[in-house]
């Protein structure tokens, strides 16, 4: 129980740090980009939006920094992120909620898939040490893990969309279909997601394979694996319950730590594919200097990563009794 509380405490601190960074960065930057942007918009946008911007960036000079800070935190607690400039007069919250399902479906699924596949391949590679799988895959993935995601995305588009015409070039769905839970739409959305998904899969799976392989090799040298052999257990049982079960524990921690990296790559992949998710919207907001939307999206990405880490923690607690007992 104390373990759970401590972890939750850590997440609150991290969230607070992200919010505070969000608050401080525009105020610490020289030249005040927000101010110049607002003077550009003056007269073009509705006074309400102007006011929201003033609050968001603390332009109102009569407000003390501390007061502004608490107002900001209060707004965030009520999910008031202001008005989006890009999608005026829509609220930021509404926009974010529209992009979220796309990213969850694409990045969420692919990340979990990459983790599971990579862990399995790493386990088998280490188990059949020096075999064909072990000889071929790890070296290949050491190299692909260094590929820039966005570049691979460009190559994929060029080869499979432009040259071969197998998949759509960009977007999350064909604009001629209506967005609904219909077979036509879902299958179309799936077809659009194949290339970005494969791109993320190929570039992120290598990390999981390598760490799982190395963990497993370390675990295979443990006494309890030799003990399992001494007991005459079937190789299958030893591989899963003695080697795999223990080797995946550090991989779960690694999952939590590399997630930021995967998300960063996914943002660029969405950008390259014009995929209507959080990452694409994030870069759109940067381009359009839509700071309210940008900050909200940054917070949301942080929260998403935190939730994923919490899930990894939960899985660790289920798989490792020592974590449960640690007080």
């Amino acid at each position: 129980m104390r373990f759970v509380l401590r972890r939750l405490g850590f997440f609150v601190v991290t969230l607070w740090a992200a919010i505070t960074l969000n608050f401080l960065i525009p105020r610490l930057m020289p030249g005040n980009a927000a101010l110049s942007m607002m003077s550009r918009y003056k007269g073009h946008i509705n006074p309400n939006a102007m006011h929201a911007l003033e609050v968001a960036f603390g332009i109102k000079t009569h407000e003390s920094l501390v007061h502004a800070y608490f107002t900001y935190i209060g707004n965030i607690a009520r999910l008031h992120f202001g008005i989006s400039l890009t999608f005026f007069p829509d609220t930021v919250t509404h926009q974010v909620l529209q992009a979220l399902p796309w990213t969850l479906a694409l990045v969420g699924t692919t990340t979990i898939l990459a983790f599971i596949l990579g862990t399995l391949i790493g386990l088998v590679a280490a188990w059949r040490r020096g075999g064909v799988l072990d000889g071929v895959l790890p070296p290949i993935f050491v190299i692909t893990s260094a590929f820039p995601y966005f570049w691979l995305a460009l190559l994929a588009i060029w080869l499979f969309s432009i040259k071969l015409g197998w998949f759509a070039e960009s977007g999350g769905y064909d604009v001629t279909t209506t967005v609904a839970w219909s077979w036509a739409f879902v299958s179309d959305a799936f077809r659009h997601s194949v290339l970005p998904a494969v791109t993320i899969l190929v570039t992120s799976i290598g990390g999981w394979i390598l760490t799982m392989r190395n963990n497993t090799i370390t675990v295979l040298a443990e006494d309890y694996v030799r003990m399992a052999r001494a007991k005459g257990l079937s190789p299958w049982r030893i591989m899963w319950h003695y080697a795999g079960r223990n080797a995946i524990l550090p991989n779960l921690t690694g999952f939590a730590m590399s997630l930021g990296f995967v998300v960063s790559g996914a943002i660029l992949v969405e950008f390259v594919f014009n995929y209507p998710g959080v990452g694409w919207m994030f870069l759109q907001s940067v381009e359009n200097q839509d700071y309210a939307l940008m900050q909200a999206l940054f917070l949301m990405i942080t929260v998403a990563v935190l939730i994923a880490i919490l899930a990894a923690d939960g899985a660790t607690a289920i798989l490792d009794p020592r974590t449960r007992d640690r007080s």
Partner: protein, 647 residues
């Protein structure tokens, strides 16, 4: 007393070299991934240092036809602005190299500072620093950098390096902290503290040099991430659009839809360069992982050694029902970087039903290897191979049995008890689950019967059956050890092989566990091979004793006889090294010197260098002599006696 010698040096994960340099270079040169990484990196370094001399044209001049295809004048064609793509690539190298090294250096410096101080200072300082490290580790850095760059548009190289460096150190810091923590209590640091050396001195000169490989790994990781992130930032237009860099090239290529417009190399080659430079760092990082953790390297004995295995006779020569185990000429070798290390050299022994055989010797004399060779459990980390001899267990030669054949007799007919139950029990399964695994592997018992049998064996070793549902870490040290013995009794095997099962316990617990083992043995009638480095421990329990020295049998005889009248000078030395429980007070004398290196054992008697009776006859390797039933390998006993074995 416990000097590690060759056999263990191979087995243990090598200490991270304290004095890198020659060793490190040799290791790098011997690793294909490292060589590939170094070559790639060197290639880009040359491009970065001499772009003017190498590039055919200026990277910025818009002198040529727009969007030309590849030709001998322009290998990779030209851009939509009429620039030579190859020249741009070469000019862009410098920025990526600068970013990689500057960010790598900055991030590593912060990581060392934070990680080492957190671990070394401890207390509140550690708490605060670790929290900061973990928070930065978890906050998605790339989006954060984008946010910063969004406010500080077209930021220069300097800002980029500072931001990437200031955010990219947390992973390295975390690892350095835990490594420092594990070093804190090491002897050499204690010594430095006792000498009264200043804290700063201890950190800089004692701790940091031991972590070279981690620091290198941290640098390589940060450099890799810097190259990728910087290219990503420039690609989405958040860098200086006029800078000469691969990311900026990709930005312009994408803006001009280079791929669709046929300027393929313009869009592909900068990415290839980023990927190759990244791959150089990734390969080096991976290679360093292998170098600093030898367990990840796969060593194999040369084929020749493995093939020397003599064909085993179909049936044992003389099946003696009383002899449950006969080991004949057993040899085991380990592969090492310098050649095979023979850790067990031509060992003969036999064991009768219900007999208690002790095997003693210093650490690294090969006794554990012998044990695991008999049990056919060699393999990582004891990656040794049986290179000759036979192990006849109940008449069957185990050396020639397949893993499948072995599985049928494992645990049913012989079981194993290891040195530390903490390591030998699977930490994530309950005691019950681990017993069930063994029972289910060899029988069709029902759920109820499995539970019943598990409870029975726990009672045998006086553990309350409620502990069946405990995980290993929830039991005390003594209980864990007894639980492991209980597990070994599940099928009441004919033979239990024990590797120092009591040495992890305190003296009192040790004694009571020995008494319990002996009682169980007399009650259930199994035979025991018991390995220990503590002669006094087995003196009252073993029927016979085998003394090993430097991979060979030094002396083998009845325990009583061996204690009363030790023949081999080594046995005599061992006995003098331990206090007698009943005997009169006498000065304890150790054995000077240490065992020979098994990679190159001496040609003659292996003990000669440490022997008080050594003379010129010892230059010839002595055979075993039979002295009133006691076998001894020493020329002192050659008079009027035939050697037992040729060697």
């Amino acid at each position: 007393m416990t000097l590690p010698s060759a056999a263990e040096a191979v087995v243990e994960p090598l200490e991270i070299t304290r004095r890198p340099g020659a060793d490190l270079w040799r290791a790098v040169a011997g690793n294909r991934k490292a060589v590939a990484g170094v070559l790639l990196l060197a290639f880009f370094l040359v491009l970065a240092i001499f772009p003017g001399q190498i590039a055919p044209y200026s990277g910025t001049a818009e002198d040529f036809g727009r969007g030309l295809g590849p030709s001998s004048a322009h290998w990779f064609g030209t851009t939509a602005y009429g620039q030579d793509v190859l020249s741009q690539l070469i000019s862009g190298t410098r920025q990526s190299i600068i970013i990689a090294f500057a960010v790598g250096g900055l991030a590593t410096a912060i990581a060392v500072l934070v990680g080492v101080s957190a671990a070394y200072l401890g207390g509140v300082a550690d708490g605060v620093l670790s929290l900061i490290t973990d928070v930065i580790l978890v906050i998605p850095i790339f989006p954060l950098i984008i946010v910063i760059a969004a406010y500080e548009r077209n930021s220069g190289l300097f800002t980029l390096v500072v931001v990437l460096g200031a955010l990219g150190w947390s992973y390295g810091a975390r690892q350095l902290r835990s490594q420092t923590l594990s070093l804190r209590s090491r002897d050499f640091l204690e010594a430095a503290r006792v000498r009264g050396e200043r804290r700063f001195y201890v950190i800089v000169f004692e701790i940091i040099p031991t972590m070279t490989s981690l620091i290198v790994a941290s640098f390589l990781g940060a450099a890799l991430y810097a190259v990728l992130f910087a290219a990503g930032l420039q690609f989405i237009g958040l860098g200086d659009p006029n800078s000469q860099s691969w990311g900026t090239m990709l930005y312009w290529a994408e803006n001009n839809e280079a791929l669709g417009a046929g300027m393929v190399y313009w869009a592909i080659m900068p990415g290839v360069c980023v990927a190759l430079l990244g791959a150089a760092f990734a390969l080096l990082n991976y290679a360093f992982d292998e170098i600093s953790n030898p367990a990840l390297r796969l060593r194999r004995l040369e084929r020749k050694a493995a093939q020397e295995l003599e064909p085993a006779p179909a049936v044992a020569a003389a099946p003696d029902s009383e002899k449950i185990l006969e080991v004949r000429g057993l040899s085991v070798a380990y592969a090492s970087d310098d050649g095979p290390v023979v850790a067990v050299d031509n060992v003969d022994l036999d064991l009768r039903r219900g007999e208690f055989l002790g095997i003693v010797g210093e650490s690294g004399c090969g006794k554990s290897t012998l044990l695991y060779a008999i049990a056919r459990l060699l393999g990582a980390p004891l990656a040794g191979e049986i290179t000759g001899g036979q192990v006849l267990f109940k008449g069957r030669n185990m050396v020639s049995m397949t893993e499948r054949e072995l599985r049928a007799i494992r645990w049913r007919e012989y079981s194993v008890v290891m040195q530390s139950a903490m390591n030998a029990l699977n930490p994530v399964l309950t005691v019950e689950a681990q017993m069930r695994d063994a029972l289910k592997a060899h029988s069709d018992l029902s759920k109820r019967e499995i539970e019943k049998r598990s409870k029975e064996v726990l009672r045998l070793v006086s553990i309350d059956p409620v502990h069946l549902h405990s995980y290993p870490h929830q039991l005390s040290g003594g209980m864990r050890q007894r639980a492991m013995i209980a597990m070994a009794l599940l099928f009441t095997p004919d033979l239990i092989i024990m590797d120092e099962p009591t040495s992890a316990l305190d003296v009192v617990a040790q004694r009571s566990l020995m008494v319990q083992i002996k009682e169980l043995q007399e009650r259930l009638g199994f035979a025991v091979i018991f390995v220990t480095h503590d002669m006094s421990l087995v003196s009252h329990f073993s029927d016979r004793l085998l003394v090993m020295y430097a991979a060979q049998v030094a002396e083998f005889g009845k325990t009583r006889q061996l204690f009363d009248k030790p023949l081999h000078p080594y046995t005599q030395g061992l006995l003098e090294a331990f206090p007698s429980i009943r005997g009169e007070n006498m000065r304890l004398v150790g054995i000077p010197g240490h065992p020979p290196d098994l990679l190159r054992p001496p040609a003659g008697c292996r003990f000669a260098a440490r022997c008080p009776h050594a003379h010129e006859r010892c230059a010839i390797a002595p055979p075993l002599y039979d002295v009133e039933g006691d076998l001894v390998r020493c020329v002192l006993y050659e008079h009027d006696r035939e050697a037992v074995a040729a060697r």
